[in-house]
Amino acid sequence: MELQIKYYGMLAEISQCDEELLNFDGTTGADLLHFLIQKYPSFATKDIKVAQYNQIMDLGNKITSSEIALLPPFSGG
């Protein structure tokens, strides 16, 4: 399926875009992360949350939305 993926924080720097359209063949949130780590290896070192329908998802759950957001923690103040 085609996914519109939005990246927050340093994830957008790694992917060099705030958003992109990608074809994804997997099923779960974990599959999606695995797929993105192939594309952006340094994602592997980050603590990443995946959200669909504006809700942070359990990585074991199925991706059913075509709009996904990925976010890392921020610490700056």
Binding site: N54, P73, G77
Partner: protein, 360 residues
């Protein structure tokens, strides 16, 4: 009183709301980029008791975003400098200052006297200590964090709602995420996020609906976009925190919630004469340590000056705030110099240690 007239005439607030505001006790941890706007608006609104925790001093590079300070505050402790500015803004409120670093030893005690905690810190370690202590003490935490042009705001632990660990369960292992002093930040972003935090504090105090509990607000200053992401409570994460409450209460030294094995606190530095101290800061950095007998090797020179590092004594590395010295520990260990530790409180820890020694 005419001071609060413009908010009292709001029918949703009124005198009753103003009384709530003046009875409220709010602890703001960190008086930096986020803490300054939070403190400024809360003091102006008339929050009756404000606690300010900050061990750091005002530097010129802070003035671009830390709007409570001016040239006359340079070199002063941030909590004290903020207090003197805020009392000029509103002398009718009570302000307590704490100039020690907020850590696992003092966290529970500091939180106890307050209704709401505002997390305005600049590092993950303190954020996790704030979260855990607030879960144990049942205090809501108004959280704000920034990264370059983006910010996050949420309210944790509100009426048994989710905590920071329900969102991000554990402290990132590596120093993979740089802070503002390493990567830069736009001053207005900390103003926007800090002001949103002050707004959440007032919503809680005034018992408004729509507090950002279980919701993470993500703001992008360049696109002006806001996305609110919902997240759920994780019972197992909350239990993990409440189970270790006794450790924290007893000030459980190395078993504290977030002390990692490559660090040491100045409180645990017993035999300072038997260790090799290494200052990894640049030579021009303040504060200077009086009667300093150790080595000075700026971090960037460390790898080329390994032969100066002791192989048979414990090596204690320090910098300003304990970040570079942690990197230095990793670097030395890569070169098989294993018996090394980073001083967690940095140069300020050493200064405190000297004071304790002087006082006998």
């Amino acid at each position: 009183m005419s001071r609060y007239n413009r908010q009292i005439i709001l029918s949703e607030i009124g005198q009753e709301g103003q009384d709530r505001i003046s009875r409220a006790k709010v602890l703001v941890i960190g008086a930096g980029g986020l803490g300054c706007p939070v403190l400024q608006y809360l003091a102006a609104a008339g929050i009756g008791t404000l606690g300010i925790v900050d061990f750091d001093v005002v530097e010129e590079s802070n003035l671009q975003r830390q709007i409570l300070f001016g040239v006359s505050s340079l070199g002063q402790n941030k909590a004290l400098a903020a207090k003197s500015r805020l009392l000029d803004l509103n002398p009718t409120i009570h302000i307590e200052t704490y100039t020690d670093k907020f850590d696992e030893y003092n966290s529970l005690q500091l939180l106890r006297d307050y209704d709401i905690v505002v997390d305005c810190t600049d590092n993950f370690e303190t954020r996790y200590i704030i979260n855990d202590a607030s879960v144990i003490e049942s205090k809501p935490v108004v959280y704000g964090a920034i990264y370059k042009f983006e910010g996050q705001v949420s309210v944790f632990n509100f009426e048994n709602g989710p905590s920071y660990r329900c969102l991000f369960p554990s402290l990132p292992e590596k120093e993979t995420i740089p802070n503002c002093s390493e990567i830069g930040v736009l001053g207005v972003l900390s103003g926007i996020i800090g002001t949103m935090q002050a707004n959440e504090v007032l919503k809680i105090v005034l018992k408004f609906k729509g507090v950002l509990s279980g919701e993470l607000l993500c703001y992008n200053a360049r696109s002006a976009e806001i996305q609110i992401l919902k997240f759920s409570k994780s019972k197992s994460e909350i239990e993990r925190i409440t189970k270790k409450s006794s450790l924290v209460l007893e000030g459980g030294r190395s078993s504290g919630p977030s002390m990692s094995k490559n660090e040491i606190s100045f409180r645990d530095l017993k035999d300072i004469d038997t260790v090799q101290l290494v200052d990894v800061r640049e030579p021009n950095e303040e504060p200077k340590i009086q009667n300093y007998m150790g080595l000075t090797v700026p971090f960037r020179e460390l790898e080329s000056r390994l032969d100066e590092i002791s192989r048979d004594r414990t090596v204690i590395l320090f910098c300003q705030h304990g970040l570079r010295s942690k990197k230095a520990v990793n670097l030395l260990r890569k070169h098989n110099i294993i018996n090394t530790l980073s001083l967690r409180e940095g140069a300020y820890g050493l200064i405190k240690l000297n004071k304790i020694d002087d006082d006998g």
